[in-house]
């Protein structure tokens, strides 16, 4: 079972648009994939370095706006807009990391919130560039050689590939000496420094990779909804990321994926019966309840159960 599991899951994931008759389900999977990338991105900071960023919507938005503007205004291909969006988000992550990662905990959180606030205000007020609150409609769908990735099925495969890549990046990173350095800084920073772990270097590195992944999610979002507005900076996105990571299990590789699937599918399933406000109210309560009753998250708790049941 455990050896067959991954290939079967991969095959199921790859063929999902074929056996999911309803395109609406494919839409949910696409959004889950985009959020999975965001959750993986946030988890790299919150889960592994222990620093909570509440400014991740800014990197998401920077990715989305960069690629949207380059493809719309300069006629660039999606395949150039994508690395540009990722790169600019990474650069912003570097700058914020350099500046803010001499701070820790609450102070770091406040700087990241403020950074996202400033970026959102710029997007709203710099009419010439961003068209302000009206947003940028008509962001082109990507093309791959002769094929357009306009259909949900095709775009799903693109998002799946990106999410798989993001997961692989995180996995390789956290299972290397770099990942050990990040965890060491979370666990005991003075001790980590005493054996030669340069705190600033590794925290900035984590911020850059994390921002790049959030930028990647932003690019994918822009070319999927084909519309970008200052709404991409909504705090809701950041909160959703935090919930996904905390619920799934921070500091694990599977946690963000589980959290992303759960918290994309669940609200959609409840959409008919429950309004958006109730959903956000529930998010808030869930976050509180998680801290009290499931502080480690779903994946580590399940793992502990399985471990305990095995003799």
């Amino acid at each position: 079972m455990s050896r067959l599991g991954p290939p079967v899951a991969a095959a199921l994931a790859l063929t999902a648009p074929l056996w999911l008759a309803n395109p609406y389900y494919v839409h949910i999977l696409i959004m889950a994939g985009i959020f999975a990338i965001l959750a993986l991105s946030l988890n790299l900071l919150l889960g592994y370095t222990g620093q909570l960023s509440l400014g991740h919507a800014a990197f998401f938005g920077i990715g989305a706006y960069t690629s949207a503007l380059l493809t719309l205004r300069l006629g660039w291909s999606f395949w150039l807009g994508l690395p540009a969006g990722v790169g600019l988000a990474a650069a912003a992550g570097w700058a914020i990391g350099r500046l803010a990662l001499k701070l820790r905990g609450a102070y770091f959180v406040l700087v990241t919130i403020s950074f996202a606030g400033v970026i959102a205000l710029v997007a709203q007020n710099w009419m010439d560039l961003t068209n302000g609150p009206l947003g940028l409609p008509g962001v082109p769908a990507p093309e791959l050689g002769p094929w357009s990735l306009r259909t949900k099925g095709a775009y799903y495969e693109l998002v799946l590939a990106a999410a798989a890549l993001a997961w692989l990046v995180c996995r390789r990173l956290v299972r290397s000496r770099i990942g050990r350095a990040l965890v060491a800084l979370r666990e005991n920073e003075p001790l980590a420094e005493s054996v030669g772990v340069d705190a600033t270097h590794y925290l900035v590195l984590a911020a850059v990779v994390s921002a790049a992944l959030a930028g990647l999610a932003g690019v994918l979002y822009a070319h999927y909804t084909r519309f970008v507005s200052p709404e991409v900076f909504l705090f809701t996105y950041t909160v959703t990321m935090v919930i996904m990571v905390v619920a799934g299990g921070k500091g694990t590789l599977a946690g963000p994926l589980v959290g992303a699937l759960l918290f994309t599918a669940l609200p959609e399933a409840l959409r008919e019966t429950v309004s958006w406000q109730w959903q956000m109210l529930a998010y808030g309560l869930i976050l509180v309840l998680l801290v009290f009753f499931l502080p480690r998250g779903i994946v580590p708790t399940l793992a502990a159960w399985r471990h305990a049941r095995r003799p």
Partner: protein, 254 residues
């Protein structure tokens, strides 16, 4: 090897360390002793970059360490342990030591992301090195256990293993035997001797006089932030100033 010149640390207006000078000879075990509050840990913190000295210099192999970050100082071969038990509590013993081996690895971001074979080989090498170090401190049977759950004495050994993993040329031990039982202290002093035999210079702060006098080549006595005596253990034990300032108070205290 290590030369401390007129090192002073002031907190507010209070001098925790008031201009201390001493040298550590390569290959030797040097002990820094003195009553509580004499400035020993402050000196350690200033030497290893955790505190910025108010004045004075720390020279290591002739080059100044002052102003460098702790991680840079570790990179130059000067590694310290902490007075309070300091491990990575949620990690296994093996992962603790692997983390200590940080500087022994080379893999950078791109080769890690590319999943190069060289990275896997390096990981395998580091794991072997970690196993050797764990065996060296005698924790082979604890390798897979979570460090934070080990008994106190063994946590101190994990801490020692983590510091050794950084391959120090000069190892600074801050009260390595504090709170240990007699048998555990024997183990630690045996380990310190073995560490020295491997060519590592040791500077230690310790309260246990038997341990200090048993293993040190040179003893430096601090009182009220200044050096009051320096010499081989036998000379220190009979030094009148030391007896008055230090051993006297220690006896009175116990």
């Amino acid at each position: 090897m290590l030369a401390v010149r007129d090192l002073a640390v002031h907190f507010g207006g209070v001098a925790a360390l008031g201009g201390v000078s001493f040298e550590v000879r390569p290959g030797a075990i040097t002990a820094l002793i003195g009553p509580n509050g004499a400035g020993k840990t402050t000196a350690f913190n200033a030497i290893t970059g955790y505190l910025r000295p108010t004045r004075g210099q720390v020279l290591y192999g002739g080059a100044p360490l002052t102003g460098l970050r702790p991680s840079e100082i570790a990179r130059r071969g000067v590694v310290r342990t902490f007075q309070k038990t300091s491990v990575f509590p949620a990690l296994t013993v093996a992962d603790n030591v692997l983390t200590g081996l940080h500087l022994r690895g080379r893999a950078g971001l791109w080769s890690v992301l590319a999943g190069r074979a060289a990275v896997r080989e390096e990981e395998a090498r580091l794991e072997r090195e970690a196993a050797d170090i764990i065996a060296f401190v005698g924790l082979g049977h604890r390798r897979g256990e979570v460090a934070g759950a080990l008994p106190y004495g063994e946590q101190r050994l994990v801490e020692l293993a983590v510091a050794l993993a950084a391959r120090p040329a000069l190892l600074l031990l801050d009260e390595p035997a504090a709170g240990m039982t007699g048998a555990e202290k024997e183990t630690v002093s045996g380990l310190i001797r073995k560490i020295r035999e491997q060519g590592v210079t040791v500077l230690l702060v310790e309260h246990d006089m038997r341990l200090v006098m048993g293993i040190s080549d040179t003893v430096i006595v601090l009182n009220h932030g200044v050096v009051i005596a320096e010499g081989p253990p036998a000379a220190i034990q009979s030094h009148p100033d030391v007896v008055r300032a230090y051993l006297g108070t220690a006896r009175a205290g116990t």
